[in-house]
């Protein structure tokens, strides 16, 4: 039997870094196939290569029903080849009607005037919706007025229109993130409807429980390679699947053990912090301690670090060394003055000005303290930039080179150095090892631990359980915007992982 979708030898290299290497993958007709892996594992790269968003390196091939469609894959021809993609944000325009959203790009037109034939369009949309058991949705309803699960249906209708039933492949790229909990069952039954007719469905998902529940087979990626292809889910349980995704293989040192740190009191206290998806968080981190925060994707974890740093408005207060900073009128400048250094997740957007030099970036937070109003001073800037480059082994060690010319890992080292050199009282990190290579990751984690040894209170917000296990003294697990559990040493990455997913185990999600 020829595979519905087959990928052979697909690779992708960005600026000398191979993010996907020689991927082989096969999806059969009528199955639900899950693609799993951590951030940076290469799974989204694989999807983007198949959908033609990225151009693959020379030599890879993509087949649909044995017919070669690339590489290179032409995004414009995908629909005709039977491939459809439903992205995380669904790509719907709320102000337009269902009909307009579904038919965009393939409107029926009148012969002479070239006007859109709304009647023909509406009929086509109604037909597709009925096929999906969504006949109750009128094509003229505005998408904004639909329930979330219906919106997913509309996105699927757009992907499936003008298709023969049972043909093709539909790829759901983290689509279930857009769907509220109570609507998931409807989504899953829509998926089953598609596969029952022979259409292949691919789901890209972080939610391992979901994968076990609806997927027939699983393909796992790790560090740019396909490590397991088409494993039947019948042979898996959550623990095995987790191991597959994380690939526990002990390449990270246990810095918390090898670099013991003395607790010194003081530090930072969060008192009733609220804002974004955080509902109420109270916690402490003493000087000399690394405290981790983690949680699943919808736990509110991503809102926490900016709140503590005063970068987003919130409620409650943060107390730094006895000084209370109310979050109602928080500002970054005030939090910074209190001694809190914040290393944001979005390295390019918020961490470093990439077109400026390493020296300029590294010295920025210390200009006012070290320089005079009419003279920035040159000696200390040179010394500081060189110290950062030496301490974090930044290569090439050229302080006058623009940050953009460095690799991702080296940029992250520069970013860490920028804030650690000032000897902050509190260090707040937001997923610092995202998209850095293995070597740089160890360097970043070691620097994180070193900051605590040097007397800083370190708050590490991360979804990478390996990182947390490597450097943290304590780990708080967030759930629905509040602290659900606190883990104390000794713990392993597996312990943290199962603590994160404790609430979903056993429940039928």
């Amino acid at each position: 039997m020829t595979a519905r979708l087959e990928v052979r030898g697909l690779s992708k290299t960005f600026a000398g870094v191979t993010v996907l290497r020689d991927a082989h993958w096969e999806v059969r007709a009528g199955e639900v196939h899950a693609l799993v892996g951590q951030n940076g594992s290469g799974k989204s790269t694989l999807i983007k290569l198949i959908s033609g968003v990225y151009r693959a390196d020379h030599g890879g091939e993509v087949f649909v029903d044995g017919r070669r469609i690339g590489t290179p894959v032409e995004p414009g021809s995908l629909h005709g080849e039977g491939l459809a993609f439903v992205h995380q944000d669904l790509g719907l325009i709320p102000d337009l009607s269902v009909r307009e959203n579904v038919r965009v790009g393939r409107h029926a037109t009148r012969r002479f005037t070239g006007w859109i034939d709304t009647r023909k369009d509406a009929a086509a949309v109604r037909e597709t919706l009925e096929f999906l058991n969504l006949g109750h949705i009128s094509p003229e309803t505005k998408v904004a007025r639909l329930r979330p699960s219906e919106r997913v249906g509309v996105a699927i209708a757009r992907a499936l229109q003008e298709r023969q039933a049972g043909s093709g492949v539909v790829v759901f790229d983290e689509s279930s993130r857009a769907i509220p909990y109570e609507a998931l069952d409807e989504f899953y039954s829509m998926v089953r409807l598609l596969t029952s007719q022979g259409t292949a469905v691919v789901i890209v998902s972080h939610n391992l429980t979901e994968v076990l529940q609806i997927a027939d087979r699983v393909t796992a990626l790790r560090n740019g390679r396909v490590v397991e292809m088409g494993l039947p889910t019948a042979e898996l349980d959550e623990a095995k699947l987790t191991r597959l995704v994380l690939g526990r293989d002990g390449d990270l040192d246990d810095f918390a053990e090898s670099m013991p740190s003395e607790l010194r009191g003081g530090g930072i206290e969060l008192r009733g912090v609220r804002g974004g998806r955080i509902r109420r968080v109270s916690a402490t981190a003493a000087r000399g301690e690394v405290v981790g925060f983690t949680g699943s994707v919808d736990s509110g974890l991503s809102s926490l670090a900016p709140l503590i740093a005063g970068a987003t408005p919130g409620r409650g207060s943060v107390i730094v060394e006895g000084t209370e900073l109310p979050l109602e009128n928080a500002s970054i400048a005030r939090t910074l003055r209190a001694g809190v250094a914040y290393i944001p997740q979005d390295r390019h957007g918020e961490g470093l000005a990439t077109e400026l030099t390493v020296e300029e970036n590294v010295t920025l937070p210390h200009l006012r303290r070290r320089g005079r109003a009419w003279w920035t001073g040159r000696g200390w800037q040179k010394a500081e930039a060189e110290a950062v480059m030496a301490r974090f082994a930044v290569t090439p060690a050229d302080r006058r080179a623009p940050v953009a010319t460095f690799s991702g890992g080296n940029q992250q080292k520069v970013l860490m150095g920028k804030w650690l050199l000032g000897g902050p009282t509190v260090l707040v990190l937001d997923d610092p090892t995202q998209a850095v290579d293995v070597g740089a990751r160890a360097a970043v984690l070691q620097a994180t631990r070193q900051a605590a040894v040097d007397g800083a209170a370190v708050v590490l917000c991360s979804s990478e359980v390996d990182d947390l296990a490597s450097v943290c003294d304590r780990v708080y697990v967030l759930e629905d915007g509040a602290i659900a559990r606190e883990l104390l040493r000794p713990f392993t990455a597996d312990d943290i992982f199962s603590a994160i997913f404790q609430h979903t185990e056993g429940t039928d999600r």
């Binding site: 390449d251 970068a311 990439t354 077109e355 320089g371 920035t376 290579d437």
Partner: protein
């Protein structure tokens, strides 16, 4: 991300370049515009009929009574912090007209007229800042509107003609000569040196660079981003007002219809300046070099018998060429 064997390694291959060659390349990238300027001057001297010595040609170029250096400084400041200001031509015009109008037509004492002119400029700059930084309206729209309003009000103040009649003795303030060059040139030089110093050697200048490069990074480092942006608009307006005052005093009066002509040379100089001295960044010294580079070009074309239309074509071409070269340089840096 985790694996037993690190599969991705980044190797940066550095081709060995001799230090001398690197210094030479560095100088070339910084001062190519100066070299080009000298070449242009020499060609001019050779091609133009009659007896023109390079020194004389140079002196003629530097003796131009032009507000472009002042205006360019304002634009460099706003551009450096990532803002866009079109209104300088209008602010220049209304300040230049206000001095003779108030002093001659309304009989105000001259110092008061000058102060009022500068005050008007600051008020217009504050309007820019309030709408762009305060309310968050698109800077192109706001400054385009302020330009038009200020330019229009200048005609109202001047009663739609050239206002003149300022005491000729005062003209020496702007056009009097020192070392054979007009005072206006020296004022420009001093201001450029001052702004260049602030931008390159003080914390304020570094903060400006970061605000212009990445506002989020600047804010997270505790920089008062809004204050820097407001300051840039005020500084730009004040410099435009100052330009108006010194030009109107030097000429004894001002015709608001002439103000628009300075828009293109100013933008051309500012962008051309980004390929010199500090390549890829808006910088005052590069702008100063570019101003006189462009004046030389126009001057030469005029000597060759091309006048009128050629000026605008030349400035337009220089602007596009400058931005293209600058863009290509940046792309090379990033890759």
């Amino acid at each position: 991300m985790s694996s037993a064997t690190p599969t991705t390694t980044t190797t940066t291959v550095h081709t060995a370049v001799s230090p001398a060659r690197r210094v030479a390349m560095n100088l070339l990238s910084r001062y190519a515009l100066v070299a080009l300027w000298i070449v242009m001057l020499l060609i001019l001297v050779a091609v133009v009929p009659g007896d023109v010595s390079p020194v004389n040609a140079m002196r003629t170029v530097f003796s131009q009574i032009t507000p472009v250096v002042f205006l360019g400084l304002g634009v460099v400041i706003t551009m450096a912090v990532g803002e866009f200001d079109l209104s300088f031509a209008g602010i220049f015009s209304i300040s230049a007209v206000a001095v003779p109008s108030l002093a001659v037509l309304h009989g105000w004492p001259l110092p008061l007229a000058v102060l009022t002119a500068l005050g008007i400029a600051l008020v217009l700059g504050a309007i820019n800042a309030a709408l762009i930084v305060g309310v968050g309206i698109n800077s192109v729209v706001v400054t385009l509107g302020v330009w038009s309003i200020a330019g229009g009000l200048a005609f109202l103040l001047s009663r739609e003609t050239t206002v003149s009649g300022l005491p000729p003795a005062l003209a020496a303030i702007s056009t009097g000569r020192f070392l054979g060059l007009p005072m206006l040139f020296w004022y420009g030089l001093i201001l450029v040196a001052l702004v260049a110093y602030i931008m390159s050697a003080t914390p304020i200048g570094r903060h400006m660079t970061f605000v212009g490069s990445n506002r989020a990074v600047a804010a997270l480092a505790g920089i008062a981003v809004r204050r820097v942006r407001v300051g840039a608009y005020l500084a730009s307006a004040l410099l435009s007002g100052l330009a108006g005052v010194v030009i109107t005093i030097g000429n004894g009066g001002f015709n608001p219809a002439s103000a628009t002509a300075y828009l293109m040379p100013t933008f051309a100089a500012v962008f051309l300046g980004t390929v010199a001295v500090v390549p890829g960044r808006f910088n005052p010294i590069g702008m100063l070099i570019a101003v006189y580079f462009l004046i030389t070009g126009v001057f030469g074309l005029q000597l060759l018998g091309l006048t009128g239309w050629i000026t605008e074509v030349f400035y337009g071409a220089a602007l596009i060429l400058a931005v293209t070269v600058s863009h290509l340089l940046q792309r090379r840096v990033r890759s």
